[in-house]
């Protein structure tokens, strides 16, 4: 489903060039939930940004269902809109929108009818256990609830790929477990591919596979947790 070949990425820090990723290769199957693991500075966020088409300034190639990632910004935006979902560490909900409006936002971008937006957003919020919070603003929700809204937003338009950056890092253990459970359940139910950058061993242990990165390279361990 998703394959990346010879991915290299350098940063310039003043006169110095720092290698963030050096010749990284890999493949992620459709419906797979993959964790990108590694210590800080290992390059997992850099790889995640490249796989999420948020960073287009890299060497190498990424293919989604055999098609190379677009290099044009507007094409990448269109592909993100239709085929990708995002879950961020700090939830990143739109503060002026209610939970249902936040969830409906990707549907609105994809030009679903108002009726469909409402129906699908409600269904999704029910699935993440927020049936009583449709019209709550983000500020009125707890961290765990906000992240559940974010997961609903990421999945509502049935994307092929969901990119999650440290989804449990800002949550207490109870909320984190809840979020992990929801992501795993819905991911399997909807057949969505997840790529998750995480430090959280509980999160990583729930994934089908963990790609371990060290100093910008995939380390020899490519643990098949659930193999």
């Amino acid at each position: 489903m998703l394959s990346f070949l010879n991915i290299k990425k350098d940063y310039r820090l003043g006169a110095q060039t720092v290698q963030a990723l050096g010749d990284v290769n890999g493949e992620i199957q459709s419906g797979e939930m993959v964790a990108l693991c590694g210590p800080s500075g290992s390059g997992k966020s850099t790889l995640l940004n490249i796989l999420g088409m948020l960073d287009m300034n890299y060497q190498g190639n990424v293919f989604i269902d055999g098609t190379p990632f677009p290099r044009k910004v507007s094409d990448a935006t269109a592909l993100r809109r239709s085929s990708l979902g995002f879950v961020f560490q700090r939830f990143n909900l739109i503060p002026v929108m209610s939970a249902i409006e936040n969830v409906a936002y990707p549907l609105m971008l994809n030009k679903f009818s108002a009726k469909m937006q409402k129906e699908k957003a409600e269904q999704m919020l029910v699935k993440v256990g927020l049936e009583d919070f449709f019209h709550y603003r983000p500020e009125q929700l707890s961290g765990g609830q906000q992240q559940r809204v974010a997961i609903a937003r990421a999945l509502v338009h049935q994307p092929r790929l969901v990119i999650a950056d440290e989804p449990t890092a800002s949550l207490d253990s109870h909320s984190a477990n809840n979020v992990i459970h929801i992501m795993k359940t819905l991911g399997h139910e909807m057949g969505t591919t997840f790529v998750i950058a995480t430090h959280d061993s509980r999160m990583a242990s729930q994934c089908d596979r963990c790609i371990n990165l060290v100093d910008g390279l995939i380390s020899s361990e490519d643990i098949q947790w659930n193999a």
């Binding site: 960073d55 935006t77 592909l79 990143n92 739109i94 929108m97 990707p106």
Partner: protein
């Protein structure tokens, strides 16, 4: 997309409420600017309207004369006068828009009280002019010319109205007799005694020193002529000037007249009106420019802060697949909402001020060269308000576009980690 619009407006409104103090301040700035421009422009419009009425009332909406009348000095009085004026008057009677057609004779000479003489500028008018035009002169003492004083031949003592300063200079008062001397149309001197019937003020001291009015027939007797200088056409509505001018031209072309006759609208003779209008227009443009800069600077600061504070949100929207144009559109909508709120408040305030000034008598000091103060009024013009509101909305639009463009140009990854 039909459903997207209300959601966009709702989001824009809620975004404005996020930092309500800053939004209120921005809206207030817009409101003050709209108020100031509507009031200044409204005062200008009132002044134009007043001057237009004053000018048209003074010289008539359309002046009929010989072609050379306004172009070259006459060698002898009424060289460029109209001899067929009664026929012209009858010929134009059928035009319904015309309120009155009044003959005028402009002349000058010396006025004497027997001991002292001074120069004067005289105007021979139809005494009906006072009834038709209303109070176009402020009568200080006595009365206006009698409508029945048709000519010196029928009356022993023809009448004159003197400017206040002229009467003071000659030390004459109502009932006194003065002698007017002038050159006749044949080039000889003539003099007639006139009884002072009224003393007036034009509001312009220099004019009050020289101006006098007698009736047309008396002026014709003094100048030994049957001609008049011009015919002044007064209309019911000033706006009909150009239409009626065409009708008059058409009728004149069919008449067989002793002299060629042309029509001149009041605008071409209103040098003072044009001067004031040009001056006010320039002041308004400069003031508008300064105000535009104030709005631009204040809003740019406010919008830039708003965009900067929402950098992470912009990054999120971009990550979810929102195009930069769509993100910018949200900010533009916020700016337009602010412009609408500010314009409505500013416009409402200026309409209220215009209404208030119709009840409260606030006087403006006399204009340069004049003696009388005048009431301060403001016209609330919907056209002016719409123009000002549109201009402000465009400024807000440009400001929001610049500020938002800066926000969406930031790379998504940088925007997402912005704190």
């Amino acid at each position: 997309m039909e459903r997207l619009m209300p959601m966009s407006i709702k989001s824009a409104w809620l975004n404005l409420l996020r930092n309500s103090r800053r939004s209120i301040l921005s809206i207030l700035i817009i409101a003050v600017v709209v108020f100031a421009l509507c009031c200044t422009g409204g005062f200008g419009l009132y002044t134009y309207q007043s001057l237009m009425k004053e000018t048209a009332m003074s010289i008539g909406h359309i002046t009929l004369s010989q072609p050379q009348y306004f172009e070259q000095e006459e060698d002898l009085p009424l060289d460029n006068g109209l001899s067929d004026y009664p026929m012209i008057g009858k010929g134009l009677d059928s035009i319904q828009e015309i309120h009155a057609i009044l003959p005028r004779i402009e002349f000058n000479g010396l006025i004497s009280n027997g001991r002292k003489s001074t120069i004067y500028m005289g105007t021979g008018i139809d005494p009906q002019e006072f009834a038709i035009k209303g109070e176009f002169l402020a009568v200080k003492s006595g009365n206006t010319l009698s409508p029945d004083s048709d000519g010196p031949a029928e009356k022993d003592e023809p009448e004159v109205m003197l400017g206040a300063n002229l009467a003071q200079n000659l030390k004459v008062t109502i009932g006194d007799v003065v002698t007017l001397l002038s050159t006749t149309a044949d080039g000889v001197l003539n003099a007639i005694d006139f009884k002072v019937r009224g003393i007036f003020s034009t509001g312009v001291p220099d004019l009050d020193k020289r101006q006098l009015y007698i009736n047309v027939a008396s002026a014709q007797a003094l100048l030994s002529t049957h001609k008049v200088s011009t015919l002044s056409v007064y209309l019911f509505e000033t706006q009909q000037t150009s239409v009626v001018q065409k009708q008059i031209d058409a009728k004149l072309s069919k008449m067989r007249l002793a002299e060629p006759v042309i029509t001149t609208p009041w605008q071409k003779l209103a040098v003072f009106y044009d001067g004031v209008k040009n001056l006010y227009n320039r002041i308004f443009v400069i003031m508008g420019g300064v105000m535009a800069l104030v709005v631009f600077a204040a809003l740019f600061n406010s919008m830039t802060m708003s965009v900067t504070e929402r950098t992470r949100e912009i990054g999120t929207l971009a990550a979810l697949g929102t195009y930069p144009g769509e993100i910018i559109r949200g900010f533009l909508l916020e700016a337009v909402l602010m412009a609408i709120c500010g314009a409505v408040i500013g416009g409402g305030l200026s309409a209220g001020m215009a209404l208030l000034l119709t009840f409260v008598d606030v006087r403006m000091p006399p204009a340069p060269g004049r003696t009388a103060s005048y009431p301060l009024h403001i016209y609330f013009s919907a056209e002016l308000f719409i123009s000002v509101a549109l201009a402000v909305a465009i400024i807000c639009f440009v400001v929001a576009w610049f500020a938002a463009r800066k926000g969406v140009k930031k790379p998504i990854i940088e925007a997402l980690i912005y704190v």
